[in-house]
């Protein structure tokens, strides 16, 4: 994953975590662990769609906070 995507993903996740009133320390831990797991999964792949990236992120977020995972998964289908 390139730096720009990583930065955008991290800021997006932080925004959602703050909106969901997840304490910032815990949120940072969730986000760091999620991004680590996603990068590990992406290690051998050269390209990935945004849907696949979302699926990977959601799969990892679900381990930490169900609401966080739900909001991130459905962020484009609420309206």
């Amino acid at each position: 994953m390139d730096d720009k995507t990583l930065k955008s993903l991290r800021s997006d996740l932080k925004l959602h975590a703050r909106a969901l009133s997840i304490p910032s320390g815990a949120a940072d831990d969730f986000i760091n662990e999620t991004i680590k797991s996603v990068q590990k999964s992406l290690n051998k792949k050269s390209t990935i769609t945004s849907a696949d990236l979302t699926r990977l992120v959601v799969k990892n977020l679900k381990k930490y906070n169900a609401d966080f995972a739900y909001v991130y998964e459905n962020r484009d289908t609420i309206i």
Binding site: K14, R18, A19, S21, V71, N74, D76, T77, I78, I79
Partner: protein, 234 residues
Amino acid sequence: MTIFASVIIILLSMLITASLQLVPGTFSCFYHYALGKTSSKKAGDRSLSFVLGTEIFVSFIWILLLITLSFLDPIVDIYSAPVFLITSGIIFAEAAAFLLFYFRRSNCTSLFISRKIAATLQTRARKASSRSDAIAIGFFAGLPELIFTLPLYFISAVILLNTPSIPCVPIIVFYIIFATLPLFTIHIAYHNDQNLASITRFRTKLKPFIRIIIPIIYATIALLAIILGVSNHG
């Protein structure tokens, strides 16, 4: 009988306008992003500006319709059987369209509007950084849904203009406030530690009920409009 039918039409139109999901969906996203960027007090203030924007939109539609119909009334008899029958035909078509197309097939609450418009609303809700942005989004969020609400506004305006026994201004003010009641409900939910996930899950649970009940209400309005049209002709 005609007064009773007229009042019921207006009340049911209010109910449909308040039950449509585009503005509450946009509002809940807007509030969520505002909470992510600012304090809960500022997010609350901005959300009230959003509500104001929606109320301005509904007022604007009412004023536009009342002025247009007042100009047209001397030229064309708007309180006549053909007008009611055509309007009721359109409302019946809306009932069918709502049942078939209003909600997209998804596990969430995505609606009939094009994905580009939905993405634009989402982006504007996310980027809003001031009260004026909030008012603007509140105003424009209701625009794509005019296809489902304009005939309701129209028939309510025709009834109000031609039924002196129904007080026009209090009904319009009540209509405007009633249309934004769901937004106040969401605002209170956010204040009571609910979040976008719980609100969206609730709206998703409500989806099947809304999908059935709104077409029934549309059909009822259309039938009452036929009764009014026929009784005028008689």
